[in-house]
Structures are given as structure tokens and as C-alpha cells.
């Protein structure tokens, strides 16, 4: 086991350094790219904290949608299992005739997962729901 600071603490430290010390000293394109780096640090910090529980939720939702149990999954890492389930859903969505209601259920599943992804990569982005824009 590694000594502390742990990964999350180090990412927070790295982010604070970029934001507090490096950025104020930079201008132009270097400032912009360092802002991007800072944003990636914050993303990784949130991913370290939330990533595995969100991945578990994604697996659970996909299993429910596809009618699969845990025993149906490939042996392998959680990441590989979720990737495989997503591939199965991609294949399913390419089938011409789908059971009634499947697309709407798939939408529910994908919306929930996309909100989870955004909680890591862009918190708050899903507060706007574009309800007036749908036909």
C-alpha cells in the first residue's frame, strides 16, 4: 500500500499548484493549455472519488435494460464488463425491430449514465434540460 498522500490528495494538490501558483505566471496559449491541464486534474480528482461507484451503477442499469444477471457477465474487470455491456447495447440498437418501449428504456438508462459521467467531467452541465427545444 502506498503511503499518503493518496492519489486523490495528490491530484488535489497538483490542481491547487496549477491554479494558485503556475496559472497566474502564464499568459496566452500557455495559460490556456494550463487551464485545460487544471481542468483535467479536477476531473481525475472527481473520477478517483466517484468513478468506481458510478461504474457499478452503469453495470447495474445496463444489466437491467438488457435482461442480464451478474452471472451472465464475462469474467474480467468491472471496466471490461461495462464496456462489453455497452457493446451489446450498441448491437441491440442496430437491430431493425425492437420490442415496444425498448428505446425509451434505453434512453432512461443512457440519460442516467450520462448524468453520472457529467458529474465527473462537467458538474452542473445537466442543470439545463432543453425541454423547450424538443418538438
Amino acid at each position: 500500500m502506498q503511503d499518503r498522500p493518496d492519489a486523490r490528495e495528490l491530484l488535489a494538490t497538483l490542481g491547487d499548484y496549477l491554479e494558485g501558483e503556475l496559472l497566474p505566471a502564464l499568459e496566452g496559449p500557455l495559460n490556456y493549455r494550463t487551464r485545460v491541464a487544471l481542468n483535467l486534474c479536477r476531473i481525475l480528482e472527481r473520477e478517483t472519488r466517484l468513478g468506481s461507484s458510478y461504474l457499478l451503477r452503469e453495470r447495474e442499469r445496463l444489466c437491467r435494460l438488457l435482461g442480464l444477471g451478474l452471472e451472465d457477465l464475462l469474467p474480467g474487470s468491472l471496466h471490461d464488463q461495462v464496456e462489453d455491456l455497452n457493446q451489446q447495447l450498441v448491437n441491440e440498437l442496430a437491430v431493425e425491430m425492437l420490442p415496444a418501449g425498448f428505446e425509451a428504456s434505453a434512453w432512461d438508462t443512457l440519460m442516467a449514465t450520462t448524468r453520472d459521467k457529467l458529474a465527473i467531467v462537467r458538474p452542473g452541465y445537466d442543470s439545463y434540460e432543453a425541454r423547450e427545444e424538443a418538438p
Binding site: Y32, V36, N39, L89, L93, W107, R122, R131
Partner: protein, 347 residues
């Protein structure tokens, strides 16, 4: 032996070279000595150069101008003479554009093809545009003016379109765009069912050919327009124009990615779509809400796949840098926008 890898030109050397070329060119056109003063590069390092400058003639007259030029001959999206001709067509139709004075393909002046226009004063950088619009209260006026500009452009009889443009028409632009999008799906780096759902919807809802093909600018949005204190001053960047479905043109500036945080204002962060539709109809255009929506879905997909393509380019080394890498983690924004557009009834 000539150097295989010449040093890249410094910014100063580039400005001096362009100033010299402009002075020689305008001098030959006006048959007098011309000095170039007050040069400001507005898109340094981009694929095309845009430089604001004053041309001062021997008698002391000063003319504020702008040159758009390509650094070399071989990266044109549209022939520069075609683009200059098209801007003239748009101007005569009533679209606000900078008046074109000269266009040339001769590389001996500034190194590549170029055209010279009036300089239209105002703001183009999207977030600054939105701050100015908020201060001036011009959002609704801009959206109305955009509707009118689209209508004017889409009314142009096709026989007035530049000949080179007339060849770009596809029988059903939506079908052709969908086929290109299907190819772009290869950009994805992992199974992405949100995009599959989008493709499924787009294929099912594919609109028939539009009542008629029109000239479409294809990239009118916050970022490609000049805004002054009165509102819309000019539409820029005509190099991706083509013949197409007019609703594609209206849908593009309405994507969330062009609102720069002003999410509730559908048209470029300026205001809602009502003014766009009103201006378009008043100008003689026919607004088709279903078709408009279809093109918004397609545009959102295309933007998302473009971001995925940047991440792919980073990972395979085609153009590795941190901004391209970060693009991969922005795909989820487009997935979310796409799902919002595809929201089933009752959800």
C-alpha cells in the same frame, strides 16, 4: 543545398511580409504609393490569416480594410475567388457582409490567395460578444437580423450562385449528411450507445429532399459574425458554403455548444428561436420545425464525433496535445445534449 526544414517564420517577419505585399498590391491597384499602418492580426496561427489594417495613400487618405489570406496555395476549402464572388452575391441579396474590394490567387503578394474587404467594426470573440450584447440589450435584435439574413441568402436564385458552388448540391442533403456521419462513427474510441440511439433516430426520421435547394452558408453562428452596439453588423467566413437544405443553416447556430453558457437562449446565446423564425418568415423563408430539429440532432452528433476524433488524433499521435486529449472528456456534453433533443414524451 537548400535547408530541408526551414525555421518557422516569426510573427514579426510574417506581419512585415504581409504588410509589404499589401502595400505593393494596393499600390498597383490604385496607382499610387500606399503605406500599411495599424496592423492587427485577429486570427494568428489559424488556418487562414485575418488582418485588420489601414491603407494610407500618398495624399494622406486612410482607408480601414481587412485582408483574409491563406499562407500557402494548397489548403483552400473553397477557391478564394469563388468565396469573394459569393460574398458579393450575399451582399446584393441584402445579407450584411463586409464589402469585397479585391480578390487574387496570385501568391506573389502575400504568399497565398487573399481577398480584401472593408473593415467592419465590432466584436467577434463569442464570450465577449455575449457580454457586449447583454450590456447593449441587442440579443433579440440580433436573432431577428439573423433570421432576415438567412431568408435573404436562401432566396437567392441558384443561377446567381457562383458556378463552383452550384456543383455542390446533393439531391437529398440530409441523406448525404447522414452517410458522412455514419462514416464518422469510426472516430469513437469505445462502444457509445448514445450515438447509436442518435443514428437510429436520424435514420428513422430522415427528412425527404427539401422543397428546394438553396445556398447555405453552413457556419453562421456566434463566432462567425461581427456584432456592434446596434446588433448584427456582418456575417463572416463563407468558405464552407454550399447548396443544401436551408434548415441545416438555421439549426447550426442553435446548438448548445454555440451558446457559451447562455443555455436558455437557443440562438447563439442571444435569444430564443421566436425571433429567428419571425425574421426568416418575414424575409420570405419557410420555417420547417421538424426538419430544423432533425438538423440540430445531426449537428450535435457531428460535434460530438468531432471531439471524439480529436481525442483519437491525440492518442494515435496524429496531433498530440493536451487540448485534443481533453476533447475526449467533452464528448459526454454532446451526448447529454443529444439525449435532451431525443427526450421521449413524458420523460
Amino acid at each position: 543545398m537548400s535547408a530541408a526544414n526551414p525555421q518557422p517564420e516569426t510573427g514579426e517577419a510574417r506581419r512585415a511580409r504581409v504588410a509589404d505585399g499589401l502595400a505593393r498590391f494596393l499600390g498597383s491597384q490604385w496607382n499610387t504609393d500606399v503605406r500599411i499602418e495599424g496592423m492587427v492580426e485577429t486570427s494568428a496561427g489559424a488556418r487562414r490569416g485575418n488582418v485588420l489594417f489601414d491603407a494610407v495613400t500618398a495624399d494622406g487618405r486612410r482607408q480601414p480594410l481587412c485582408v483574409t489570406y491563406l499562407p500557402t496555395l494548397n489548403i483552400e476549402l473553397m477557391n478564394i475567388l469563388t468565396e469573394a464572388e459569393l460574398i458579393g452575391v450575399a451582399e446584393r441579396a441584402g445579407v450584411p457582409v463586409p464589402h469585397v474590394h479585391f480578390a487574387s490567387e496570385d501568391p506573389s503578394w502575400v504568399g497565398g490567395p487573399f481577398f480584401i474587404t472593408d473593415r467592419v467594426e465590432g466584436e467577434t470573440v463569442p464570450r465577449r460578444v455575449l457580454r457586449q450584447v447583454a450590456a447593449d440589450g441587442t440579443g433579440k435584435a440580433i436573432v431577428l437580423a439573423l433570421g432576415q439574413a438567412f431568408a435573404a441568402l436562401h432566396q437567392v436564385p441558384l443561377e446567381q450562385a457562383p458556378a463552383a458552388l452550384a456543383e455542390s448540391g446533393e439531391a437529398n442533403p440530409a441523406e448525404a449528411a447522414l452517410a458522412r456521419l455514419a462514416e464518422q462513427m469510426d472516430m469513437l474510441l469505445q462502444p457509445a450507445p448514445v450515438f447509436s440511439l442518435g443514428m437510429r433516430w436520424l435514420s428513422r426520421e430522415l427528412p425527404p429532399p427539401p422543397p428546394r435547394l438553396t445556398i447555405v452558408h453552413d457556419d453562421i453562428r456566434n463566432g462567425n459574425i461581427i456584432v456592434d452596439h446596434n446588433g448584427l453588423a456582418a456575417v463572416l467566413d463563407w468558405e464552407v458554403a454550399k447548396l443544401g437544405d436551408p434548415m441545416e443553416d438555421l439549426a447550426w447556430p442553435c446548438l448548445r455548444c454555440w451558446r457559451f453558457g447562455e443555455d436558455g437562449k437557443e440562438v447563439g446565446g442571444f435569444a430564443g428561436r421566436e425571433g429567428l423564425i419571425r425574421g426568416y418568415r418575414e424575409g420570405g423563408g419557410q420555417f420547417d420545425a421538424q426538419r430544423f430539429h432533425w438538423w440540430k440532432v445531426l449537428g450535435t452528433m457531428r460535434w460530438g464525433l468531432g471531439l471524439a476524433g480529436q481525442a483519437r488524433g491525440h492518442l494515435d499521435g496524429t496531433f498530440s496535445n493536451i487540448v485534443m486529449a481533453a476533447s475526449g472528456r467533452r464528448v459526454a456534453e454532446q451526448e447529454y445534449d443529444l439525449l435532451c433533443l431525443l427526450r421521449p414524451r413524458g420523460r
